[in-house]
Symmetry: C2
Subunit: 600 residues, 2 copies
């Protein structure tokens, strides 16, 4: 039959570069607009990973310059350890080449595709090669190369290679020119802002044409570089186990201890027993019929979760809260870092946070910030397991209305840190729906939902109490007035009573017979750290409690008392003087403060 | 500096098989549950493509059998042209190998990944190789091979190869065994149903353990196999143009005519002029500075859209409507096939259809059926450009409420047929957001929205008229009654008036003086094809219009008249007889029918 032969003539290999040139949208190059963001993101991922490995505080320069109609030149430069010249061509101009794919630890880059994809995109749209400079050592010169990818073979092509003097003692710089637009500038700045939030040790300087943005570091501690670990027995696939045993020359027990994470003497013995296999059997000689029970045993024997502390680098609850506080003004923030867990042999940790109120919009759905291995995810929110986990939570249980996402002034942050983040595609926009990961996200959100509910119900309760108190307080002065009229005396001062009912801090100053007295009452239910400023002509040298601080200017004395008052506690001080002047209380929320200045 | 050297030791190539083994979710193997569907889908895509190429009516057998706890054996067998033995290993056991990647025409498979990915998944989860049988010729024997993929190199490994006798004269059979579950059986059946709807020429026999499902062909015409065309000048990238010119030995004008679709003598001359380049310049000698204006000229000169009829195979409006009518009972259906369009040098056509009412649920959002190159898309609806295009339409304009998707008893179908469908990932679940494609989908939906609006407003208007008519008709019998009482006569028959007001078909039968007469009045606004059944002891041999059909049983005569009555038309017949018996009208919607049997 001729036809099968005809078809055969057309059957041939496809190079991975050809494949991704045709499917560039899979790499995050859907549209020219996205080109800049994806390129900057891939380069920064590499820079941050390299700096972490070298334990260097990252100083990263990003420069974007318009070169012509829709043509932009993007430069990313770091002070990382650099790349040796022999490896530069493959690192930048060969897809599926890298150092992090075969390691079991949290890294931003994990595919060996990202930066080469940007090089491919540049050469596709402008036909211009990449310019790369790298230096590994202050004593050596820097190497400068122009590199292209041979699409048909996915091999690098070195167009130019020279040694040059360079200002940085070590580091890497890449320059790419491609078709793009700056329509997504807002999104780019957002990406940089969120990257800086979850990488507080990094400094970014960003030049967009002649505009300069800076994102400074707020911490001088290089986060410890996650250590590559062995795979965990849970979730390993039979095919992988077969390959591992085939490559081993060890007896089964030793094979298990040496090849897997968290398997010690005791666990290895247990696994052998459960699989009915002798501990001394040669791993490589096990036939498929025995690998099946071995795999089953590895899944059923109780083995501790992988030590996430080693191979993962979560942001931590504390830093998440700080980051959110810095960027958003919120009435309530809570963060959770879940314990480490496993899917398909990969360790992962889910972190989540919830913020409420403040300046968040009351209209519409919650803002959702997604992160994977400390990298913000900006696209494909609808396709992400994080989004579906958020939507799967019954937010109505926590007093929040819901339209898939919760509604109202809510900010959600979810960070998935994993030795291999299961992205839905090479563009790393969204996390695939892996049941174990979705479950952990859901649990974290449910914990936070309960915290939010507590906050909301307390807030509602205290709002109710305040409404009642406010109603009473509105009546008190009228009563006081009436009583005064009846007994024909000036109406008594009711502010202290009001303060007590309203649960506020009341400050009172008065003077009589040449003696000035001041009193603070903490009617709130919390400790209050107060600072009392008293500015008048009185020097208060004989104050019953000496001020912490006094200054004089033009005959006016500023006297400062600092005091911590527990709930219900009072503070009183008096001195000889004429009174008058100005008093002020600091350190207390404005709505908790009542000031009374009575010279009676 | 030691560190760059340390890092260099870890930098190495990643085989594409290693990459996808680690990222198997990108290929649609997210979870064991999905494994069966993805495998069946990839095998059927190949079978349908091959049959189309060979112009064979596809007969496809799918068999799924549980082999152990969570282990399933999946067999897909077709009567296609077969694969020659030399190519069998690479076709089934090498990722990025195939015949359709480099062709510019609509095919289901386009990546050279699908079926090899299923083989990779099988060997990963059960460590069992694939069993493949193929025969290309009734005169030759079939070849039977067991094949594995060497993951580290992405090369096929032939474990066994023998020639055997086989029942089929030509065709291909693949058997795979992998870990899975049958939880998604409903989705699998859905996939098969929709595949059968858009491939009416294919026959599927599906065996799931001992259950058998059949999806028969409803058409015996093999759809014409789309013909591979040259790329269209619109949207071609500079890098590709550079490669094409470099590989050519022709003068510029001839190069343009021979390399591109829709470029004739006149267009080529125009392009050369617009680019200020001589027609005789050697294409391969053009430097980058001249390729840029050439590319610009190719984008600006008016060139007809690619002949979609050649390289694409849309379902067509007619077949879409038939398919939807078959599967869903609807009050309203409309389909649109848009004219051909281009993105990035790829031709594409968008087809869409909308259905309303019938048995669709009034609650919740619309049902959305997505298709790409005649393949149903079952996952990642939220990530798909089709979904975002549907959500971007302002459905309120068309009288439909909306929560992202339109709400109510609505069925939407969208089919994107393209020479290269821009899928978001290798799993081919969702279409990436390519502006040109989204625009075409939106236009198709807006056209359909206007049709729907017209239908809904007509329906509302006729509902209003009917409500009024119903109110009047409710009064008429009472008036008739009253009038009868006043004039002391039996009340007149008002059913004819009611029929006229209600715009119905009225059937009346009466007899007097041994003569039976029947009358049908079509008061509706449409042609009505009616069938009148008259069952009584009368033989009606002398009927003024002879019945189309008469039978007798036990002295009862069934007389049948078939008649088409245009709006307002009447039909009357009479014969000698006693009358009585039963009359019935068929062919008219129940709510349009009024029967009156009056022996007065």
């Amino acid at each position: 039959m001729i036809l099968a032969e005809d078809l055969a003539k057309k059957q041939r290999s496809i190079s991975v570069a050809e494949f991704f040139e045709k499917n560039k949208h899979m790499l995050g190059f859907d549209s020219p607009t996205r080109g800049i963001i994806t390129t900057v993101k891939e380069a920064i991922d590499n820079s941050l990973d390299a700096c972490e490995e070298a334990e260097v505080l990252p100083d990263i320069l990003v420069s974007i310059r318009k070169m012509g109609i829709d043509v932009f030149r993007v430069v990313v430069e770091d002070n990382g350890p650099g790349i040796i010249p022999e490896k530069m061509p493959s690192v930048f101009a060969k897809l599926l080449y890298g150092s992090r794919f075969h390691q079991v630890r949290q890294t931003r880059g994990q595919q060996g595709i990202g930066i080469s994809a940007a090089v491919l995109y540049a050469q596709l749209t402008t036909s211009k090669p990449a310019l790369v400079i790298s230096r590994t050592n202050a004593k050596a010169k820097a190497h400068r190369m122009t590199l292209a990818i041979k699409t048909e073979t996915n091999e690098p092509e070195i167009l130019l290679h020279e040694e040059i003097d360079w200002v940085l003692p070590h580091g890497t710089r890449i320059e790419l020119e491609f078709k793009s637009t700056m329509q997504a500038k807002k999104k780019l700045v957002e990406y940089l802002k969120y990257t800086s939030v979850v990488n507080p040790h990094a400094r970014f300087r960003v030049e967009i044409d002649d505009e300069v943005l800076s994102f400074d570091r707020v911490s001088n501690d290089v986060p410890p570089c996650p250590i590559s670990i062995r795979p965990h027995p849970y979730g390993i696939e039979l095919g992988v186990l077969k390959r591992m045993t085939a490559a081993s020359d060890r007896p089964l027990k030793e094979f298990l201890i040496e090849s897997f994470s968290r398997v010690g003497e005791k666990t290895a013995v247990e696994i052998c027993a459960a699989a009915h296999l002798p501990q001394t059997a040669k791993a490589s000689s096990l036939p498929l019929e025995q690998l099946n029970p071995l795999l089953d045993a590895m899944q059923t024997v109780k083995i501790p979760a992988p030590s996430a502390a080693q191979c993962l680098s979560p942001i931590t609850e504390d830093l998440i809260v700080k980051g959110m506080e810095k960027e958003f003004q919120l009435d309530f923030i809570k963060a959770r870092t879940r314990p480490g867990s496993v899917f398909g042999g990969n360790s992962f940790i889910v972190e989540a946070a919830i913020g409420y109120g403040g300046k968040l919009s009351v209209e519409g759905t919650a803002i959702l910030l997604r992160f994977a291995n400390r990298v913000p995810l900006l696209y494909q929110q609808g396709a992400c397991a994080i989004t579906s986990a958020v939507a799967s939570v019954n937010w109505k249980n926590y007093g929040v209305s819901q339209q898939a996402l919760p509604m109202g002034p809510i900010l959600l942050l979810v960070h998935v840190a994993a030795t291999n983040v299961p992205f839905t595609s090479e563009s790393k926009d969204a996390i695939a729906s892996v049941p174990e990961v979705e479950r952990e996200i859901t649990l974290a959100l449910q914990e936070l939902g309960r915290d939010l509910k507590l906050f909301l119900s307390r807030r509602d309760k205290s709002k109710l109490q305040e409404d009642r108190a406010r109603a009473i307080c509105a009546v008190i002065p009228l009563i006081s007035q009436k009583v005064g009229e009846i007994v024909e005396l000036p109406p008594p001062d009711t502010s202290l009573i009001e303060g007590r009912i309203m649960r506020r801090v009341v400050l009172k100053k008065g003077s009589s017979n040449g003696r000035v007295s001041m009193r603070i009452d903490n009617y709130t239910t919390k400790d209050q750290e107060v600072t009392l400023y008293d500015i008048s002509a009185d020097s208060a040298v004989d104050a019953t409690i000496s001020p912490n601080f006094v200054t004089e200017m033009d005959g006016e004395y500023t006297k400062v008392w600092k005091q911590t008052l527990s709930a219900g506690e009072s503070f009183a001080v008096s001195y000889t003087g004429a009174g008058g002047g100005i008093v002020d209380l600091q350190g207390i929320a404005e709505n908790l403060k009542v000031e009374v200045d009575l010279d009676v």
